[in-house]
């Protein structure tokens, strides 16, 4: 029992990342009909937004502190981050400590801007081209984006820690009256899961309960009719691309404490998220989320020792295996809509 709960929890954080990226991919595919291979790169750029902000916040200048002496007896030179000057020492320390959560505020406008520029500048010209061309051009774009990041940030992973409050682990056993010390789970992963749930809920609420969302859904169902009603659907779809980019970016921002970001993290996630989208059903938002969590949890169950003894190596291939089986038995995926990308 403990082991099962632990594996479900372990699957949740990876599943959240898959679900968030797959949600963005599906938003883009459902609205614009574009297969975006650069979506992993957007996830990666989001992660580097967090790196950038934490570096910006730690920018410092040197002052000479007369009260302290170094080992030669000279006044000590102290590096003081500019935020200390602005907000005072204790507030400044907190701000630097909370750099990753603060990056959310920083990443949203950046990612929306990148998304809108990408759509207007490049993707727009590919609506009428075949899907293979869209895959190829966005694949090229992904290479370019990732090389730009590599040029400025280097090829090594950059550790970006979570705030101090979230270090350490949460003991589920003690909290819910089970055996203590059996189900231990890092706080940040819980935060990540909660954050993902909020974002996913937010996107669905936005589409379901706002007029803007209603128009977008109408456009997804029948673009031409919406245009005939005199609505500029292109503008709204562009914004949806920005929103999808922001979702991917935020997934990246919050993922940095779990895995130190490096320039090819996007590509690593991209392949899996595509599998997730296909399993969930092309163009189905709930399908993408469901498949994301399902595959994440499945993957963590497959890594259990008991399973591995029985089927060695299954944890490496389980996702692909499931994808192949689903694609061959349920061509539309788990929750795919009729008429979307069927061939």
């Amino acid at each position: 029992m403990d082991a099962i709960i632990l594996q479900i929890l372990n699957g949740l954080d990876k599943g959240s990342a898959y679900a968030l990226i797959a949600l963005g991919l599906t938003l883009i595919f459902g609205t614009l009909g574009v297969v975006n291979f650069a979506h992993g790169a957007l996830f990666m750029i989001g992660a580097f937004c967090a790196v950038t902000l934490s570096r910006l916040l730690s920018l410092s200048h040197t002052i000479i502190d007369d009260t302290q002496k170094d080992f030669l007896g000279n006044p000590l030179k102290v590096e003081v981050p500019y935020v200390y000057d602005l907000f005072g020492q204790s507030a400044g320390e907190t701000i630097i400590d909370w750099a990753v959560p603060l990056s959310i505020l920083f990443a949203i406008p950046v990612m929306v801007a990148i998304g809108v520029i990408m759509e207007r500048g490049l993707i727009k010209h590919f609506y009428k081209r075949p899907h293979a061309d869209q895959i190829l051009v966005t694949f090229g774009l992904a290479i370019v984006l990732q090389e730009i990041i590599k040029y400025y940030y280097g090829a090594n992973p950059i550790p970006t820690p979570a705030p101090d409050v979230f270090r350490g682990s949460f003991d589920f056993g003690a909290a819910f009256g089970l055996t203590p010390d059996t189900i231990i789970y890092p706080y940040w992963r819980l935060v990540y899961f909660g954050f993902a749930a909020v974002i996913i809920g937010g996107v669905f609420a936005f589409l379901q309960f706002t007029t803007f969302g209603m128009v977008v859904r109408a456009g997804m169902a029948d673009r031409e009719t919406v245009q005939l009603l005199g609505i500029n659907i292109d503008k709204r779809f562009t914004l949806m691309f920005g929103l999808a980019a922001a979702v991917a970016g935020l997934a990246g921002v919050m993922y940095t404490p779990i895995n130190s970001p490096n320039y090819h993290m996007g590509m690593d996630f991209l392949v899996l998220s595509f599998v997730v989208v296909v399993v969930g059903g092309m163009g189905s938002l709930p399908g993408a989320v469901l498949a994301g969590f399902l595959l994440g949890i499945l993957e963590s169950f497959a890594s259990m020792r008991e399973v591995l003894e029985f089927l060695p190596g299954i944890n490496q291939i389980i996702i692909y295996l499931v994808a192949i089986i689903i694609l061959l038995t349920r061509p539309r995926g788990l929750m795919g809509r009729k008429g979307v990308m069927e061939d």
């Binding site: 297969v35 490049l122 010209h125 081209r129 075949p130 899907h131 293979a132 061309d133 895959i135 190829l136 051009v137 694949f139 090229g140 774009l141 992904a142 290479i143 370019v144 090389e147 730009i148 590599k150 040029y151 590509m267 392949v271 595509f274 599998v275 296909v278 092309m282 060695p312 190596g313 490496q316 291939i317 692909y320 295996l321 994808a323 192949i324 694609l327 061959l328 061509p331 990308m341 061939d343």
Partner: protein, 399 residues
């Protein structure tokens, strides 16, 4: 000649001449001169040109003709490599059985993968092939370690059985050979300050490439090739005429898998080692880049693309900041630094950035790749209006 019309005979002869004379053509600059770093005429790189040329020709038979975009072709190359390596370990270090077996094994594996993947088309087909390739990669890395050597990969060892080979002389290590002619041996010829290297391995691979190119021309011009083009342009119409497209696409898939196996076997023959990383999906992505860059659906395009990417990878990546400063030393100091900082991100270690940009530009503006670019330039110089004998189908992007 060889059952080809005049145009294609000329093309074949041109390719044969280029590959046979490559040690001269790729070494145009004398040793020790400032331009010597652009020489690509050393065996290792020339072998890569032709081997990846074969890989791309094979990929093009699938993607260029039928329009099925496979993102998992590196798996066949990897499987071929492993098969060739086991032949060398168990049977003989002679490359002929190794390469033959690599083609057969890759063909069988692609038959299996193709039979399943070709039930779907479009993006689903791409994802399925990608999933198969990633599965093979993950398995080769983990569970199949007894067969694949896992992370360390496979190399020939002194104590391998090698049934057909006799005992090794003491102190000798097993080397890939063709009836005793070692793959690594080369003949060097220096003329003045030029140094030309003729490598046995290169010529084996080059002959294999010319043969594969010939095969590709025959396939392109055969009724079978015509059928594949029909699949690309309108599969539905083909179905309505009562033809089943599946056997044709499957045949194309297997043929291109066998090409990949040949490339994998040759890789092992040139450099006797194999690791799982050559099956990773980025390796499959690379052959896609090569084919598109050169021109999908054209005969010579994939070879050009493979040559260009491998040249950039090996030559451009060597250019560092110091060399750039030497080049632009004639400029005033401030301007020199400015130009160098402007260019530096794009070359040297950043060559992938240039590759990505060129690739995007090609996909956006030249869907027919470099070959189409060449045709357009040629047309510009001839000053002719686009003639009606080039049908639209020639430049439409693959779907």
């Amino acid at each position: 000649m060889f059952g080809l019309d005049k145009k294609h005979t000329n093309l074949l002869l041109l390719v044969a001449a280029l590959t046979m004379l490559a040690p001269f053509l790729l070494n145009p600059f004398p040793e020790g001169s400032g331009m010597a770093q652009f020489n690509a005429g050393y065996p290792d790189l020339m072998q890569r040109f032709v081997i990846f040329g074969i890989f791309a020709i094979g990929f093009n038979i699938l993607f260029g003709l039928t329009g099925y975009l496979s993102f998992g072709h590196a798996a066949f190359l990897g499987v071929g490599s492993y098969a060739a390596m086991w032949m060398m370990k168990l049977l003989t270090m002679n490359v002929i059985p190794a390469i033959t077996v690599s083609i057969v094994v890759a063909g069988l594996f692609s038959l299996l993968v193709g039979w399943i993947s070709l039930r779907r088309s479009g993006i689903y087909f791409s994802i399925l092939t990608l999933a198969f390739a990633q599965m093979s990669y993950a398995l080769a890395y983990s569970v199949l370690t007894p067969i694949t050597g896992g992370e360390t990969g496979l190399q020939p060892k002194i104590f391998d059985p090698r049934i057909l080979d006799g005992e090794l002389a003491s102190g000798a290590s097993p080397k890939a050979n063709l009836f005793g002619l070692e793959m690594t041996s080369s003949f060097e010829w220096s003329v003045g300050s030029w140094l030309f290297t003729f490598n046995v391995g290169y010529y084996v691979a080059a002959i294999a490439m010319v043969l594969s190119f010939y095969m590709a021309i025959r396939i392109f011009n055969s009724p079978f090739g015509m059928m594949l083009r029909a699949i690309k342009s309108n599969q539905q119409r083909l179905n309505y005429t009562g033809l089943n497209a599946k056997p044709y696409t499957l045949a194309a898939f297997v043929v291109s898998g066998m090409y990949a196996g040949l490339a994998g076997g040759l890789m092992v023959a040139m450099d006797t080692q194999v690791g799982a990383e050559r099956m990773f999906w980025t390796a499959s992505g690379e052959v896609v880049l090569m084919t598109i860059l050169g021109g999908a659906g054209t005969l010579i395009g994939p070879v050009l693309g493979a040559g260009m990417i491998k040249y950039m990878e090996n030559i451009m990546s060597k250019i560092n900041e110091t060399i750039l400063h030497q080049w632009f030393a004639f400029l005033p100091d401030g301007l020199e630094d400015f130009v160098v900082t402007l260019i530096y991100p794009f070359i040297g270690k950043g060559w992938h950035l240039t590759l990505g940009l060129i690739f995007m530009l090609v996909v956006i503006f030249l869907p027919g790749g470099l070959v189409e670019g060449g045709q357009r330039i040629a047309k510009l110089f001839k000053g002719k209006k686009p003639s009606s004998d080039t049908p639209d189908g020639k430049t439409t992007p693959a779907e």
